[in-house]
């Protein structure tokens, strides 16, 4: 008989595989203090590539608290979307920089 803990691990692994097989990569760029695209669409499990082309540090911060990702100057960071919803996000350091991410389940 299979130990009780094996099942969740197997389930998680197969889930992980199915997510990575379908995961898309969405690019969001912050350049010259503007976020583009202003509105993007993605799915839970997708990878968001956050590209900071500025000499300034930025953040991608969800107004609803779903995420708060630090974006060092001239660097690209990645974030995997965990929750569905229409998420308005902005840069905490430069609140004029705003955009929306539509995350489908």
């Amino acid at each position: 008989m299979m130990p009780r803990w094996v099942l969740p691990i197997v389930a998680a692994l197969s889930l992980g595989i199915s997510i990575s097989a379908h995961a898309a990569t969405i690019q969001i760029t912050m350049e010259n203090l503007v976020i583009s695209p202003a509105e993007a669409t993605a799915k839970v499990g997708d990878i968001v590539e956050l590209i900071n082309k500025d000499i300034f540090a930025h953040t991608a911060t969800a107004r609803n608290g779903d995420f708060d990702v630090a974006m060092p100057p001239k660097k690209t960071v990645t974030y995997i979307l965990k929750k569905a919803g229409t998420i308005d996000y902005y840069c905490r350091f430069h609140p004029n920089m705003k955009a929306t991410l539509n995350v489908a389940p």
Binding site: N32, I55, F56, R92, F93
Partner: protein, 173 residues
Amino acid sequence: MFVRLSAAIAAVSLLSGVAFAQGAKPTDPQIAHIAYTAGVLDINAAKQAQSKASNKDVKAFADDMVRDHEAVNKQALDLVKKLKVTPEDNDTSKTLSKNAADKLAELGKLSGAAYDKAYVANEVAYHKAVNSALETLLIPSASNAELKSLLQTGLKIFQGHQQHAEHVAAELK
């Protein structure tokens, strides 16, 4: 209100009027010096705020000022090195430094909410003055394209700072 207005007028006239009243156009080495100095002065003010401010939005604003102005100034230093330009001290830089030192001493005597308000009000006035000088004098006078472009980036970010400061000032009321 009166203090803020007079500070703004003093700052604007000091940047736009006094030093270049003879109609002399600043040279690139002078522009680089003025822009760099203006950044350093705002960093000094922000460092004072980091230790003195009590309101969390004011503290966060001060952190933003240090981070952004240091980034612009680092870029400016890299650029003057690349262009082999030696920034040249001038009357505008001197007046800016003198006024900022006076302001720092004045703010140093305040504390609590009174300090927070005075610091933010001065940030609004200071960014307004610097932005106006950038727009009307420094950017049009810059002859090197890379210097001009860096000043334009500066203007864009400092306009954001001005709005941010205005927002924080309104919240403090």
